[in-house]
Amino acid sequence: MIRLENVTKHYGSFVAVDDISLEVPRGLLYGFLGPNGAGKTTTLRIIAGILRPTNGRVLLGGDDVHRNPIPAKMRLGFIPDRPFVYDKLTGVEFLRFVAGLYGQDGDAVERRIAELLEVFELVSWKDELVEAYSHGMRQKLIISSALIHRPQCIVVDEPMVGLDPKAARLLKDIFRQFVGRGGTVLMSTHTLEVADAMCDRIAIIQHGKIVAEGTVDDLRRQHRAGDASLEELFLKLTGGAQVRDLVEVLGEGDGGHAA
């Protein structure tokens, strides 16, 4: 469903994404992990058609996102990490607008909007301008907007940020059911427990390159990590194990003895 072929992205002399190839088949929840600045968001934005790759191509359901964008993007629902929404539209108006971008309107859309608002508990806020929404509510609205046209694949950047525990659980259930019905989810996250519990396969990216790929068990075997947790595996692969002495970083507060 999602296929990346030798995708590279340069910003001047800086290489943000370095020759990545990846295949995410239908019916799979795929985790995309990596430390800050590793190239996750850039890769996801290239897949969503927001950024053009310097080299390589991205196929969604067989269509090149940049050469044949309309059919490719019709299959996609994108959820960004920062929820920028039009402040002066209401929740309902925003969802109607997004449906319009996908060429959908009429009663079916109205029913779908009502359904999504109900699921994400935004019904009482539906006629209020988005400028009054909290960060989490905006995130829920954006998730609703990504689902409104019934996409075949979802690309999502840090989905749990800003969500309350109930909404986070709801989102996990939605993704699992979506995948269970043949959909595809490519998800970047820093929450390793979520990735461990939800993802069928995982890719770990560092310095723009994929340094490991497979199921969590595959990764353990490949890197001779025994029964290490995903967190330990992640730190081993990304070189984050050398954490400095916390006492040195935090200092000694007035009210406690860090040592």
Binding site: P80, L89, F97, L101, G103, D105, D127, E128
Partner: protein, 562 residues
């Protein structure tokens, strides 16, 4: 605890400004800077020369000259004060209550006085830089004409600086009080309407009292009446009058310390402002965190505009509806229509007051000339409006581009929607301005048709140029839409539009001249091949100025990266 210096508190601001300059330089080379400097210097020179000629003329009259020069300075500084108060009130709201750095500043152990002084400096700089720059050629003209000598330079700085600070203190204090009464976002809406409404009323009143009569003494009963009017202070309680008296006193060799002392009551005003800030800022800042809390049904737009646009494909229809809603729900945007309406009234009033119909033949010639040149003026007005409303359209989509680019929306539909949402109201205004002006001037049908057709062509081109240049020079990081037209791209757009207006007027004049000559000589008007060729050239130029910027804009939008 040792408090950080004011310089340190303002560090994020000046470092950001420096970084922006570095980025601009690396992006556009030195070309941008050179263009800006040339345009700025030319503008300064034009203001200086115009005022210098007027003042030299005044100076030739030993009795009335200095009175007239003082009156002109008084009116100029009074208008500066009006602009400063309005802009300080609006800027203070952003810098004291809505700016992004406030959470950090307020949560840090920085004392109230430093926050006040930092934010006051920020407000002062943002709202006064343009007035300060404008004052340079004006005061230079006064200094040169009245031979103020090198001492006039520091004296002028001593006079103008407190005149800039006082409105900043007053504006910040007024904002502080208002925010304690209303939530900040409501205050912003309220201030936008009040400020622009007040500006509109001032402009209207100023024009309707016909100040041009001051330079026509024959309109007064006798000379003493005229001198009495000149001697009457324009606004004795305002800093502008103190600055006028201080400046003219110095230039005429009769220095009176009182106006300068009054101006430097600024120090006391800053102290009072700081004390008020200490008392009210904490509660005001808390209130400023409240949302606007507005429920909107939005059904009206859907059933009116939505129904009217039912023939459009759904993506275009929703896009147009979205743009219209965003415009009319943002008070800072729609409230500018008040000022626009006032300017249209003043424009038509000016045309009405022209003394043209005095002799049949001369009347015809001047009427045709004025009607023709009016096309250029109306074009300029349309360009200024397009700079304000159409030029920022692409920039304002910046933060939402993730949605538009990840959806299957054809970017041509985006550009199409932006173009027509901006062009149709502009076209209505263009036809109103040109049509009514021509009716007031009583032009013949030929000029009426030429005028209306030309302004249509120009409107299409101006809107396309605004959108195209807006896409070429986007300002995605700017929070305030009002700042976008004053960017470098806005300047380039205005220069390109003026060049277009000049070229179209030159081409059309060749055709109109044939018509004027034929009517003037009592010959029949013949539409020959040359006339058609000139009209066709003007039409082709307008068509090219419409198509090329839209095409370039589309290519640019396709290459945007976020």
């Amino acid at each position: 605890m040792k408090q950080p210096s004011l310089w340190r508190v303002l560090e994020p601001k000046w470092r950001t400004a420096l970084q922006r300059i570095r980025e601009e330089r690396s992006r556009g080379g030195s070309g941008k800077l050179v263009t800006l400097v040339i345009v700025g210097v030319l503008f300064w020179l034009a203001v200086y020369l115009l005022l210098y000629l007027v003042l030299r003329h005044f100076r030739a009259d030993p009795d009335l000259g200095s009175l007239l020069a003082g009156k002109v300075l008084g009116v100029v500084l009074l208008s500066f004060i009006a602009i400063l108060v309005l802009s300080n009130v609006i800027t203070a709201l952003s810098s004291f209550f809505l700016a992004k750095d406030l959470d950090l500043l307020v949560s840090a152990p920085v004392d109230w006085l430093r926050i006040y002084l930092a934010k006051l400096s920020e407000t002062l700089l943002h709202s006064s830089w343009m007035v300060a720059l404008m004052a340079v050629p004006i005061l230079t003209a006064y200094g040169v004409t009245y031979r103020g000598g090198p001492l006039f330079v520091p004296y002028a700085v001593l006079t103008i600086f407190p005149m800039l600070v006082l409105p900043a203190v007053a504006g910040s204090a007024l904002t502080l009080v208002l925010v304690n009464i209303f939530p900040a976002r409501r205050t912003r809406d309220l201030l936008s309407i009040v400020a622009l409404g007040a500006a509109g009323v001032v402009i209207l009143l100023f024009r309707l009292i016909r100040p041009e009569r001051l330079v026509s003494p024959e309109g007064f009963r006798n000379l003493l009446d005229f001198i009495a009017v000149l001697r009457t202070p324009t606004s004795p309680l305002l800093p502008s009058e103190w600055a006028t008296k201080a400046t003219m006193g110095f230039l005429q060799g009769a220095i009176d310390p009182l106006p300068l002392v009054l101006l430097w009551t600024t120090a006391a005003a800053v102290t009072l402002g700081a004390l008020l800030h200490r008392q009210l800022y904490a509660t005001g800042f808390t209130k400023a965190q409240e949302g606007a809390e507005r429920f909107v049904r939005g059904g009206l737009w859907r059933w009116t505009v939505g129904t009217l646009l039912a023939f459009l494909p759904v993506a275009k229809r929703e896009f147009v509806l979205k743009d219209i809603k965003l415009f009319f729900r943002d008070t800072t945007q729609w409230s500018q229509l008040i000022l626009l309406a006032v300017l249209v009234v003043v424009y038509l009033f000016n045309i009405k007051m022209l003394p043209l119909h005095r002799g049949e033949q001369v009347g015809f010639f001047y009427v045709t000339l004025v009607s023709f040149l009016n096309l250029g003026l109306a074009g300029f007005v349309l360009a200024a409006i397009a700079a304000r409303f159409i030029f920022p359209a692409v920039s304002l989509e910046g933060r939402h581009m993730w949605l538009l680019r990840s959806s299957p929306l054809d970017l041509r539909a985006l550009l199409w929607s932006k173009y027509w949402v901006g062009t149709l109201p502009l076209l209505a205004l263009a036809l109103l301005l040109t049509g009514l002006t021509n009716v007031l001037l009583q032009v013949r049908p030929f000029m009426m048709v030429v005028g209306l057709v030309t302004i249509c062509g120009l409107t299409f081109a101006i809107a396309a140029l605004a959108l195209g240049f807006g896409a070429l020079y986007p300002q995605f990081e700017t929070e305030n839409a009002a700042q976008i037209p004053t960017s470098f791209g806005g300047l380039v757009f205005m220069m390109a539009t003026i060049a277009l207006l000049g070229a179209v007027i030159f081409l059309l004049w060749q055709a109109v001249y044939q018509y004027v000559r034929a009517v003037f000589l009592g010959q029949p008007v013949v539409v020959d091949a040359w006339m058609i060729a000139w009209f066709a050239a003007a039409a082709a130029l307008c068509a090219a100025a419409t198509a090329v910027p839209l095409w370039v804009g589309l290519r640019r939008i396709e290459r945007f990266e976020f």
